[in-house]
């Protein structure tokens, strides 16, 4: 019941905030959003589950299931639960939302109750995405996330917000349709061997060889087609090169708090879904395509980093580096080792925190200077010492400084991928991907040097002083979380590994 309560509370608080007056909508939203975080901490402390929720022999924590309706002989149900993969993402979501709300207090000054209401509405749906274990339920939440995001970018965004919002909406909706078709063909090919849309049932039916012919198409072809359609659909969400182009537009135009959630949580929807659907359900297809997917991952890492290197807009730099970071996640998933898949999941959480911190810090600088262009400012450290200090620390987290969360994530991925058997030439892929870190260090250091250090100079006519406490506090909280997770990755990594292991065992490595 606790998961239902969590989701229902988020929906209700969204409604309450929507109807609240603008004057205190922000405070109210923050107060209400702390409750789900407390709830998720309780979930964490009471978490008892073993294995992966989807595979045979896994136990699901906080499981609850109610019949909803029946489609063509298969039942659709309200089916939620957690395992070691989804719990860290639930905690991440409930942790980031209150911080993002606080970071919105300064920049958001019109239609506030609508803004905060939509943020909470999105949180409710995100929780639904990470907890749902029934395909239809999951898909409803998955799509429902897009609607508030569309408005958040389109109404409160920058000058080209309409273009960015529509591009985001069209890209992700088209991707959802592709993924939906892919998954449905899989379910239809399973025929009578499943009687529900529960993800565990479907995963296990596929593992037991339940796929049959569908309209005269051989089961292997159906599975491969479904894998490709779902991979393409989720790739847009992640995003992976070459379907990443909506991301920089969306990030640059979105207001800071929305960017935080977009990078911190929404991108993880894509990698989470890839892990759940493509890599857990169809491991054989995945490992048959290991080399092309490995190439895509490495290209994302290198190309994303190169693009970041070429940018002048601080937000664009962070946006493109997200593309690069997501490449590590894909690499970790495709190698099918305990540390690879576990590290990829850990990297989702770590990147959520680090990129959230970076976007927030850039946002605080922007609030003061009203520019994000590298050439427009210099010497910010002089005027905003605390903010800049945290920004620098965050950047080092991004570069993978040991004892910070980013290091742990990337390190696990590399450990897992170097000796992987499922991916041919794994050492080569790993080495190339590691090279990405060098580029990251290159562009972050050069951007910081130009903007933060040296004598103070600003092209816009704004007085720059210390940022207000409520702008800086979320940064400090995030930095603390990054360090805690970097020092003690086992807080999450233990349960992640437990849930990742069955995924790894699902693949058969030849030779």
């Amino acid at each position: 019941m606790i998961l239902e309560a969590l989701i229902a509370f988020s929906f209700l608080s969204a409604l309450v905030v929507l109807l609240a007056p603008d004057a205190w909508a922000g405070r109210l939203a923050f107060g209400l959003s702390v409750v789900p975080f407390a709830g998720s901490l309780y979930l964490w402390s009471a978490f008892e589950a073993g294995g992966n929720a989807l595979t045979d022999g896994g136990t699901i924590a906080f499981k609850s299931r109610y019949e909803w309706l029946e489609v063509g002989g298969r039942s659709v149900s309200w089916f939620v639960g957690l395992d070691g993969i989804s719990l860290p993402l639930v905690v991440l979501t409930t942790f980031l939302v209150p911080l993002a709300i606080v970071s919105a207090w300064t920049p958001i000054d019109e239609r506030q109750s609508q803004f905060y209401g939509l943020m909470l509405f999105m949180e409710a749906n995100l929780l639904g995405v990470f907890t749902a274990l029934d395909f239809f339920l999951w898909f409803v939440f998955w799509e429902a996330v897009l609607v508030p995001m569309y408005f958040l970018i389109g109404v409160w965004g920058g000058p080209r917000r309409k273009y960015a919002a529509i591009k985001f909406f069209v890209y992700t909706n088209a991707a959802s349709l592709l993924m939906f078709i892919g998954f449905m063909s899989l379910v239809l090919a399973l025929g009578d061997s499943v009687s529900s849309f529960g993800l565990p049932e479907i995963t296990q039916a596929i593992a037991d060889g339940g796929l049959g012919e569908w309209f005269g198409i051989a089961p292997e072809t159906v599975a491969m087609g479904a894998f490709l359609a779902m991979f393409a659909g989720f790739a847009v969400k992640v995003p992976i090169v070459p379907v990443h182009t909506w991301l920089p537009d969306a990030h640059v135009e979105a207001p800071t708090p929305v960017s935080v959630l977009l990078a911190g949580v929404l991108l993880k929807m894509g990698t989470y879904a890839l892990l759940r659907y493509n890599f857990t359900m169809l491991p054989d297809q995945a490992s048959a395509l290991a080399v092309p997917i490995g190439i895509i991952a490495v290209v994302s890492v290198i190309y994303g980093a190169m693009l970041a290197l070429a940018q002048k807009d601080l937000k664009r730099i962070v946006a493109y580096s997200s593309v690069s970071s997501m490449g590590y996640v894909i690499l970790g998933l495709i190698v099918f080792t305990e540390y690879g898949v576990g590290g990829a999941t850990f990297q989702m959480v770590a990147h959520g925190l680090v990129s959230g911190l970076m976007f927030m810090a850039v946002g605080v600088v922007y609030n003061a200077t009203h520019t994000r262009m590298v050439g427009d400012m210099a010497g910010m450290a002089d005027r905003m010492p605390v903010t800049v200090g945290i920004l620098v620390a965050g950047a080092f987290g991004y570069m993978g400084l040991p004892l910070m969360a980013g290091f742990a994530g990337e390190f696990f991925v590399f450990v897992g991928s170097f000796g992987a058997e499922a991916l041919p030439y794994a050492p080569l892929f790993t080495a190339l991907a590691m090279f990405g870190i060098v580029i990251v260090a290159g562009y972050l250091l050069s951007a910081m040097q130009k903007t933060l250090f040296g004598p103070f100079r600003l092209e816009t006519d704004y007085e720059v002083g210390r940022a207000p406490v409520h702008d800086v506090a979320p940064l400090a909280v995030l930095l603390a979380a990054i360090i805690v997770l970097g020092v003690a990755p086992d807080l999450f990594f233990e349960m992640i590994r437990d849930a990742a292991l069955p995924v790894v065992e699902g693949v058969s490595v030849d030779g």
Binding site: W68, L69, E70, V71, G72, R111, Q114, F139, V140, W142, E143, A144, L146, V147, F151, G154, V155, R161, K162, A165, I166, F169, V170, N173, A174, L177, I181, M184, L188, F215
Partner: protein
């Protein structure tokens, strides 16, 4: 209530609508001088809701269902009450209730709105009668009972050239299609010797050398159906009529009248011309409906995409949705087990459509009441002045496009899945492509309302009224559109079990 005390009480949903219409006339006759807009609206809303309540009660109690002794036939089998009839009557009564409530604010300064309410109720009565028709003669009479008030309703604003022109166009096309339809009936009668559906079906089995006559008759009946459902090739009246008519009438016609067209289509073609029998007489009406569905949905959606006026866009989108609903007939195949599922899905889609499309048109009613313009640009920035109504409109638009958080997603999904299960992958694929196209023009409305800035600072000053009844209707339709998603289970089960009985 398994067996009604008196058999004709099974008709009470239709009777309630008819009696309400007569009562409205009576009120108007008693006090012809006084403007009694409010009392008229209240009486008609109460009548429609009472009819809806009785219908829902009947469905829940199982009147006319297989569990309680099967369909109730009356008047020498000319009329048959079963779950399918009640399902459609529920659509008609809900739409009627929404429309009359909204009309209260639309006609707030009209000289004599009384006739509007009684005409609407009479048309609804005709629809309820269509739903229970079991004979081609009753079908024709009921069809005229729907059509004649509709012509008058479209031309209701008699000093408005657009309204009168639309009424005339609608009347001319309607008269022609009625004639074609009637001629079709007579040819079928000539070939089979009966008008009662079951006897027509029996006659079809031994039609022999008269198969050609019956075939021509069936084609003509398809023409009549196409007119009523606003499908290709008799769709071209719809954009004109919906655009010119008063917006509440457009809402009524595009939702309820379209569903009425589908109820006869579903019934006549499954009961009077069963697929197996028709195919053995070389009459392949499934292919005809397949082509009609494909052309209708494609034409409707692509034409909607290029419109500049919201009302006209909605008119074309309603043509597109007629194309989706036609899948309920087009994806049938002889003796396939999934026939009931796909037709039931089409019925459920029409129910959901009844709320989301009526709601969308009622939002246009609101825009007309506010006196803002008709194009997408005129809606720019509306959400700042009217966030509640605009949120409701966004719900309708996303639901019509079939996005998952809303009921339109499920109804479309079930429809396409039913088509796939019956082997009509191409129809489902075409439907999916069309849904993607439709997202473009539906999201234009949302973009205009929420994202765009008003054309000028004073552009939205006209929004100084908050028509209560209209708001209530729009918000109610939006809530229904959302709640039908979690509550879709009983709807689809009722619809599919009702439809399965026809095969």
């Amino acid at each position: 209530m398994a067996e009604p005390l008196v058999a004709w009480t099974a008709l009470s949903p239709a009777l309630l609508l008819g009696v309400t219409g007569l009562a409205l006339l009576l009120v108007d006759t008693a006090r012809p001088k006084s403007r009694s807009n409010t009392s008229m609206a209240v009486v008609s809303a109460v009548g429609a809701l009472a009819s809806l309540a009785v219908t829902v009660w009947f469905v829940v109690a199982g009147t006319g269902s297989a569990a309680t002794g099967g369909a109730i036939t009356l008047f020498a089998e000319a009329v048959k009450v079963d779950t399918m009839a009640l399902f459609f009557t529920a659509i008609f009564a809900s739409v009627t209730a929404l429309v009359v409530v909204a009309a209260h604010d639309y006609f707030h300064d009209h000289d004599n709105p009384a006739a509007f309410y009684s005409l609407t109720l009479f048309a609804a009565t005709g629809m309820a009668l269509l739903a229970v028709a079991n004979s081609l003669a009753v079908v024709f009479v009921a069809l005229e009972m729907v059509s004649l008030p509709s012509y008058a309703l479209v031309a209701f604003l008699k000093t408005n050239r657009g309204s009168v022109e639309a009424g005339l166009k609608y009347f001319l096309v309607g008269a022609l299609s009625s004639a074609v339809f009637l001629f079709g009936i007579s040819l079928v009668y000539a070939a089979t010797g009966s008008l009662i559906f079951a006897d027509v079906a029996a006659g079809m089995e031994s039609v022999g050398s008269l198969a050609g006559v019956a075939g021509v008759g069936i084609v003509m009946i398809i023409g009549g159906v196409a007119f009523k459902t606003a499908s290709v090739p008799f769709h071209f009246w719809a954009p004109e009529a919906y655009e010119g008519a008063p917006a509440p009438v457009s809402a009524f016609l595009s939702s309820a009248s379209k569903a009425a067209g589908f109820v006869i289509a579903f019934r006549v073609f499954t009961e009077a011309f069963p697929l197996g029998v028709s195919l053995s007489a070389d009459i392949n009406w499934v292919l005809a409906f397949g082509i009609l569905a494909a052309v209708t949905m494609t034409l409707g959606n692509f034409a909607a995409a290029v419109q500049e006026e919201v009302k006209r866009m909605l008119a074309y989108s309603s043509i597109g949705h007629a194309g989706y609903a036609l899948i309920g007939l087009a994806a049938l195949s002889a003796d396939a087990p999934g026939n009931g599922a796909v037709m039931g899905a089409a019925m459920a889609h029409l129910l959901v459509y009844g709320f989301m499309n009526t709601g969308a048109f009622l939002f246009v009613v609101m825009a007309e009441r506010w006196g803002i313009g008709r194009t997408f640009e005129d809606y720019a920035g509306l959400a700042r002045r009217a966030p509640v109504a605009c949120t409701a409109m966004a719900v309708f638009m996303f639901s019509l496009a079939g996005l998952p958080p809303f009921a339109g997603f499920f109804s479309k999904y079930f429809l396409f899945l039913g088509a796939i299960d019956n082997g009509f992958v191409w129809l489902a694929a075409l439907g999916a492509v069309n849904s993607v196209v439709s997202l473009y023009y539906y999201s234009r409305v949302v973009k205009a309302m929420f994202l765009d800035d008003p054309a000028s600072a004073g552009a939205l000053d006209a929004l100084d009224v908050r028509p209560t009844a209209l708001y209530a209707a729009v918000v109610f339709a939006a809530v229904a559109t959302v709640l039908l998603l979690p509550g879709f289970g009983p709807i689809i089960e009722t619809a599919q079990s009702a439809a399965s009985l026809l095969f």
